[in-house]
Amino acid sequence: MNRILIVGEHDGSRLNPAIAKCVTCARGIPDAEITIAVFAADPTAVAADAATVAGVDRVVTVTHAIHSNALAAAIAPQLAELAAAYTHVFGPSTTFGKDLMPRVAALLDAPQVSDLMAVESATRFRRPIYASNAITTVAAAEGSKIIATVRIASFEAAGVSVAPAPIEAVTVAAEPATHTRFISVSSARSDRPDLQTAAKVVSGGRALASADNFGILFKLADKMGAAVGASRAAVDAGYAANEMQVGQTGKIISPDLYLAFGISGAIQHLTGIKDAKTIVAINKDPEAPIFEVADIGLVGDLFQIVPELDRLLG
């Protein structure tokens, strides 16, 4: 029996949709029993959410006031303690999971598989390296504990179960570290779909040339019900917020449709969109490398094409 513990990332009230993808990944491990652990100041709502993810056998909750904000230093010792009874400990490849999981792995003296993209057996996995320009298969010794971050773009979300899994409050001896304190988080909260889970993404590059000009992409995105992304060049120039960055060092996404406007297609950007089902590229340079990966390409000026699309989609 393989016992898999998944850390249930959440925002205080809802389970992050990435967790349902981690569950699908975990279900790929033979003979798996799956538990989601929720660390929160008040885990009630999140645990109830987690209990309905299809394929989850059990939800455990650890309640502590310090968990009102997710801090790796606070969660790690407690998660490591819980992990003693498990063969695998998974987290999502979000900034939360990337921050937390290696800290847990080190406490457990166990190796970590980062960005796990396919399960071949309980100890053999595939993962991307070199900005996804190569895929490697890694194998751990039989019986060794495996920590992993799950590349969420590689898995479909598990469905919702009608019979919720049991929820159990547990106590741990490990006290969360207090040497790390949460101060604040600032984000341009919007009603637009979340970039990481949106079915459609409209994205802009350096060619947009100003933050104001990005407005035309927001307008188009709203018409299409799409999220808005950006290249690193657009973020660095201050045209778009950093959380909009798509790519090797931004978000790795897998929408049904990715529309890239004025993005050249550097390998670091392409890393983030390889799992998109349909890539559309609009670029005035017919030689732009993005056309090599685009399913549909259109050579032209985005400042003409974006308003046209907006109008013709009516």
């Binding site: 790690a76 290696p102 080190a106 070199y130 988080v185 399913d295 549909i296």
Partner: protein, 249 residues
């Protein structure tokens, strides 16, 4: 002496197009340009700026790997690091062992900060800094885009999925760098000459009590799947038609 330890990993330059060896035993690195991992250059730049502000007196650059890593350490010295250590080994060093080596050095050198890259662009693991923080029993501030030191605490802005998060950590601490933390300086020719005289010590991992272990054996390397060739459309109307045929508009 107050110091900052900076990690310098030698990696294939980010402009190189990576190719997998035909026999699947690895990626081609022979004759390929090697550089300092871009995130580590940013780590070094941040350390140098903190030194210039008078917050620390010494910047120590550390690399783990083959004798060739001396090249990247010399570049780090030319950029302004005061001293370098090469922990020399031909073994493949997984993040957990790199973290063990850094922990041993942190215990010996007692830095105020250890600054590492948020990820190495070869293995893309994004693990070493966090593992070091755990083993050293110290705070971590990962994916940093702004660092302020006030006495014995650091206030760090982090790039997270939701936006920008600010945390405060007690020192000493581990910081890992994101791309927007700073723009690394260029190396000037006279500095390359001066760097030749700066101390570069070589150590064996064993001297730090670490015997590298291969916990995750790479059994195969493959190129990524290629996407099917796409179509070009003439104008916006054709684009919309193509999207409608796929049920996407």
């Amino acid at each position: 002496m107050k110091r900052i330890l900076v990690a310098i990993k030698r990696v294939v330059d980010y402009n190189v197009r990576i190719r997998v060896k035909p026999d699947g035993s690895g990626v081609i690195t022979d004759g390929v340009k090697m550089s300092i991992n871009p995130f580590d250059e940013i780590a070094l730049e941040e350390a140098l700026r903190l030194k210039e502000k008078g917050i620390v007196e010494e910047v120590l650059a550390v690399s783990i790997g083959t004798a060739d890593c001396q090249q990247q350490l010399r570049t780090a010295l030319a950029m302004g690091a005061d001293r370098a250590i090469l922990v020399q080994t031909d073994a493949v060093i997984e993040p957990l062992d790199a973290a063990r080596i850094f922990r041993a050095l942190c215990e010996r050198e007692t830095p105020l900060l250890a600054i590492l890259g948020k990820q190495a662009i070869d293995d893309d693991c994004s693990q070493t800094g966090q593992m070091l923080a755990a083993l050293w029993g110290r705070p971590q501030a990962t994916f940093a885009s702004k660092v302020e030191i006030n006495g014995d605490v650091a206030r760090v802005t982090r790039e997270v999925d939701a936006g920008l998060e600010t945390i405060e950590v007690d020192l000493p601490a581990v910081i890992t760098t994101d791309l927007r933390l700073n723009e690394p300086r260029y190396v000037k020719l006279p500095d390359i000459m001066k760097a030749k005289k700066k101390p570069l010590d070589t150590l064996d991992p064993g001297a730090l009590g670490v015997t590298p272990v291969e916990r995750l054996k790479p059994v195969k390397f493959e190129p990524p799947p290629v996407r099917a060739k796409g179509v070009m459309v003439k104008d916006t109307q054709e684009l919309i038609d193509a999207l409608r045929r796929k049920g996407l508009a």
